[in-house]
Amino acid sequence: MFDNIFDSQSLAQAWEVFKSEIPFAIWETLYVTVLSTAFAIILGLPLGVLLVAGEKGGVRPLPAWLMKVLNVIINLLRSIPFLILMIMVFPLSRLIVGTTVGTVATIVPLVVAAFPFVARLVEASLREVNPNVIEAAESLGATPFQIITKVMIPESVPSLISNATIAFTTILGYSAMSGIIGGGGLGKIAINYGYYRYKYLIMVIAVILLIIIVQVFQTLGTRLAVKSDKRLKK
């Protein structure tokens, strides 16, 4: 499959694509991923807070049936394969962005797929907060809302940053799949040239670029998480 990958013709073709399409594809991948991550956090963060604060014995217990419903919905959304989910949310995409194809339209399924995942990550981060510190805040007269905004979230910032990085790289991976419903980006280039037209060199280049993006964001995220962690003696 790779025997003619480096012949002069494929090299010339690859260079052409690299100049004309790759820069825009990188831009598309980045903005779809960044926007989807941002929206997934906007929905997932409060939901994750609810999962921890609302449980029995939490800072603001909610009715048990409501917690059960939330958990079922999250598990349900997380069980649907992304490829199927993309098609299932067509009506929602049409409602929100007016169309079901194209780069912007792929943000909708990405957010739907990612926000339950983000909620679970947030839940895990918040559970790491020392319950004794929450008790101390209660003993000082903090309201449940103050405990959430002034204790639980600020105390778990390093873990939240690490998990936001995980969410970003996962969404980046999903976004590559959205080439199937007409979403742009490096994923589309890899599929269109590599899978449909046997231009393996271009596919390899697109994949390498995806790897570089993941590496850069993971490194940045890890560094930021360590820097924000005041528990480490420096």
């Binding site: 510190v133 101390a136 003993s139 007269g141 204790v151 924000s228 005041k230 003696k233």
Partner: protein, 332 residues
């Protein structure tokens, strides 16, 4: 200041109901440093949490400064908690905030202006002896320093009551002493009522004026520290004052009978009792262990004697010692 009336607390555990507190009635006066001492699992932590309603008592009344705590709405309770603050065994500071911002925290919760809160926080850090640590994070401080920051934080809202839940149990003896001195000092200067929860006798001896001994959810003894520790009546109190194993290993109880002699007051403690008995009555005894302590300015002592030579000697020694003023004798 604090009145506990028939407090009961029952937990629904996995293996059925657990009675953590049984019918506890205590009266803690204004400005007192009140110790609540007991072994692990005696219910001390639950009891102290009933005072600020972190645990709601199953039965009974908690009245603080004339206010019945269980009648308050959640908002009123939060307001009231600013007057009854707490320090903990694990310090429980916010690890992502600087010391200054930790001390500002309760004032921030109360909605105080930032600049005012900062000014007050700096004053408090000065009081607890850490003026130079305002910008440091808790992780950069030692345990004793973290507890000082926690004390500053607890004092930020000018409370009337300070609850100390095993506040020195994670610290070494030297640091414990310094923290207790600080609490004593603050009590003296501000007249704040302090409740000290501990399992260490030494802590109660060092700072408390009054003590309650808690055993299995019940207050078994209560009163002025000197009176309770000098002549412990209950088994739980005896276990605390005369820890098991201290005496047994020293001499062989099969060859001699044991007597415990308890002195109260410096008059008794400074009498050459054993020598006098030896000269006057010719009874020779073996001192297995002895100690003298001072509680709230009064001297107390206890001595464990081994009396060889059979029952006659033993009874004679007991009769002689019982006749001396301010001394009580117990068979062991």
């Amino acid at each position: 200041m604090i009145k506990l009336q028939n407090i009961c607390k029952t937990f629904d555990g996995a293996g059925g109901k657990v009675e953590a507190l049984k019918n506890i009635t205590l009266d803690i006066g204004d400005g007192e440093i009140y110790g609540i001492i007991g072994m692990s699992g005696a219910g001390k932590s639950t009891l102290v949490r009933c005072i600020n309603m972190l645990e709601t008592p199953t039965e009974g009344e908690v009245v603080i400064d004339g206010v019945e705590m269980s009648k308050l709405t959640p908002a009123e309770l939060r307001q009231k908690r600013r007057e009854i603050t707490m320090i903990f065994q694990g310090f429980n500071l916010l690890m992502q905030r600087t010391c200054l911002n930790n001390v500002c925290f309760p004032m921030e919760l109360a909605g105080m202006k930032k600049a005012d809160a900062k000014r007050r926080a700096l004053e408090l850090l000065e009081i607890v002896g850490l003026p130079d640590k305002a910008g440091a994070y808790p992780a950069q401080l030692s345990g004793g320093q973290q507890q000082r920051v926690a004390i500053a934080r607890a004092l930020a809202t000018d409370p009337k009551v300070l609850l100390c839940d095993e506040a020195t149990s994670a610290l070494d003896p030297n640091t414990t002493h310094q923290i207790l001195e600080l609490i004593k000092d603050i009590n003296k200067k501000t007249g704040i009522t302090v409740v000290v929860i501990t399992h260490q006798m030494s802590v109660v001896e060092e700072i408390c004026t009054h003590v309650a001994i808690l055993d299995n959810g019940v207050v078994v003894e209560e009163g002025a520290v000197g009176a309770v520790f000098a002549s412990p009546k209950s088994d739980a109190a005896k276990r605390l004052v005369f820890p098991a194993g201290e005496d047994e290993s020293v001499s062989d109880p099969s060859t001699e009978k044991r007597l415990r002699v308890i002195f109260s007051g410096s008059g008794a403690a400074s009498t050459p009792l054993i020598s006098t008995m030896a000269i006057e009555k010719g009874i020779l005894v073996n001192i297995v262990s002895a100690s003298t302590r001072s509680y709230a300015g009064l001297t107390y002592g206890s001595m464990l004697l081994g009396v060889p030579g059979g029952d006659d000697n033993y009874n004679a020694a007991k009769a002689y010692l019982s006749g001396v003023d301010n001394i009580t004798v117990e068979e062991v």
